[in-house]
Amino acid sequence: MLRRLGLCLILALAAALPARADEVTSFTLDNGMEVVVIEDHRAPVAVHMVWYRVGAADEPAGHSGIAHFLEHLMFKGTEAFPAGRFSELVEANGGSDNAFTSWDYTAYFQRVAADRLDLMMEMEADRMTGLRLSEEDVSTERGVILEERNQRTENSAGALFGEERRAAQYMNHPYGVPIIGWKHEIELLSRENALGFYRTFYAPNNAILVVAGDVDPDEVRALAEKHYGPIPANPDLAPRARPQEPPQRAERRLAFADPRVAQPYVMRTYLAPERDPGDQREAAALSYLAELLGGEGATSFLGTKLTFESQTALFTSAFYDGLSLDDTTFGLVVAPAEGVSLQQAEDALDAALAEFMAQGVDEELFASLKMQRRAADIYARDNIQGLAQRYGEALAVGMSIEDVQGWPEILQQVTPEDVMAAARRLFDRDRAVTGWLMREAPQEITQ
């Protein structure tokens, strides 16, 4: 009954989708800056974002955290807009602004009334090359990011465990270094480090402008040419080539104990392929695999086996994020129920995985997931900042507009066979890191 309904709906929704592409315009300025405009005229709001194709994984060795530190320092002012003036002007215009850093990108955004776009562009373009830093700015802000690291990481056993796990996963690739940086390296980051990084990577030919909301593409183009157009490209910008992982030939394991742990869990991650430009099929299959295994607790395979059929787990989860420049990870989590050990939880996970590989994909759940993906594209239209984020992030990791717009269709083309083939390539414990987060150190090291 429900399945039949699902099929009719898929057809109706498929017809509704292509209109979306018409609302997206893209072009490139002469200096190489890519521009994406997404129209949504429901409210007089615009989101203005500039994404730089540089992140923590592009940092020089020994200077971990410099990409994120620079992101903070970008608010310290220029000649035209001295310290604090940027945020002041955004707020004086009723807007809000912020920035974020990942391994693959650094992005700055403002959310303002659509008729204030001119000023936002003027200010953002100005600080692409005009940043001024004093020693005092740098030393004060270093205190702020050390407190940010305290808040996010040092105060959280789960976050510290995550750092250990990534460091074990990425032996050679800089994805093994935390975005915020190792504490002992943050303490030494200098003004010169920040400015060197800035001059190397902050240039229009390394940036993407995304403007979304109640805007006209022609006006956005005129404003972008006026403000960003005059900034010269950096001719010395090198291709992004990070050290890649060697083949992993042995399983890696770690046990992390901290008295602040309240809920122990076992987490396993496998090195996994990411979405590649023009080649997203494997990633599409893996994103279904994550949902099938550990999406909704009451219907996913691990949830059904470990939480419903047996009471082994308090909860289970699986995760995969394909938007990444280099190899990403596919992860599984099992939090044992009261009285169940981490070893028992891990054994149950392995047994369930073996059973999944033998049984294959549940067709009914698979159809439901496809339906949900289509609905997600409709719901996404209600969130203009989310759409801007989607395009900016994808372009920053080297995807094209066509890749972004083709992704929903690629998701719909995935077959159960694709999913199982991807699973067979993925699940090899010799290419996995298995970590236990626990309250007390184990009496003896397992295996």
Binding site: L5, V45, N93, G94, R116, N155, I378
Partner: protein, 437 residues
Amino acid sequence: MIRLAHALILTLAMALPLRAEVEIQEVTSPGGIDAWLVESHEIPMLALEIRFRGGASLDAPGKRGAINLMTGLLEEGAGDMDARAFAAARDGLAADIGFDVGADMLSVSVRALTENRDQVMALLRLALHEPRFDADAIERVRGQVLSIIRSDEKDPDTIAARTFDRLAFGDHPYGSSLNGTPDSVAALTRDDLVEAKARVMARDRLIVSAVGDITAGELGALLDGLFEGLPETGAPMPPQAEFALKGGVTVVPFDTPQAVAVFGHEGLKRDDPDFITAYVLNEVLGAGGFTSRLMTEVREKRGLTYGVYSYIYPMDHAALMLGQVASANDRVAEAIEVIRAEWQKAATEGLTEEELAAVKTYLTGAYPLRFDGNGPIARILTGMQLDGLSPDYVRTRNAMIEAVTLEDIRRVAGELLNPDGLHFVVVGRPAGLESTH
């Protein structure tokens, strides 16, 4: 040159008509259920927000945690569907149905496609009227709640907030976690959950907002379909909560590198005539943004924290003026000293003319930007109804902000901000700080 250009822009910003372009319709269903509606047919979806006032503070005596556990079980099976069948049906329709509960309300948040809206509402009706509370589901969710309680006991932010609440409100429901204690949760029975549902999910405390691809007529039918048959009345609302905390410091020893502080004193209620003035004042003192006084002094100038905030926190049965900061154990005492000084300065001097002008421009300019999607608008409408405001508020609100004067600010700052009454709960191993009893 550049300065001049910006002066012009600022003037323009103030002169422009400020638009919060939503048409709010007050809808009453044939069966007598009231709701607020904003029609928006651009996207084939509906955002529906439902609230039952009273929330977890309506727990029966000795049954702390019952309403929270009951809320967690509303999506764990209803009618002839067990938990897995219910989840499969909901996901097959690609609908979001979220249940949550707080100190003052139980929330149901729904997102549905137009094409299958009727099926989603039929499913939601089952969850609202005929949740099964199956024995295995109760044990599963009870285990999850107990895990959350254990995690909260190890989380410095939660320890700080809970300690503040306990010291401030004692035996009132506001003084304890709505999750309950390990003992109270372990003792809850199925009968307790049935009773908990009857206490909170009743029509006399219902608030509904709908935004999206639906007409008033369709919404009327939808409301009757959802709510007809719910009990007319539930448990009486809890009494006013007495605020028992005096100024000072309470240190909660906890081994972690960064100390977390929650601080505050009594505030004012949402219906207080000075609320808007206090809101404007607090925006400058410590609400969001990088330009607040607290952020400038504690973070930007001294690098003592990643974030410091203050909040006006009106509840249904109490009113607080709160804040929080996190700073390394050896620096938190300095952060607290700076915060006290800023409190003192604002209490005696209020704001400057420039600050008041700038914050008015910000608040009035930012207000229309909030209405940027069906989901956000539905939540704004719900908040307005909970606060007892009229639909007209979206048009009059900015004029109220504009009307606030420096004298108003100075008077309200003197009445509201009490540096000596500030109590800091500090979790960690703070150097140079001790409890003051």
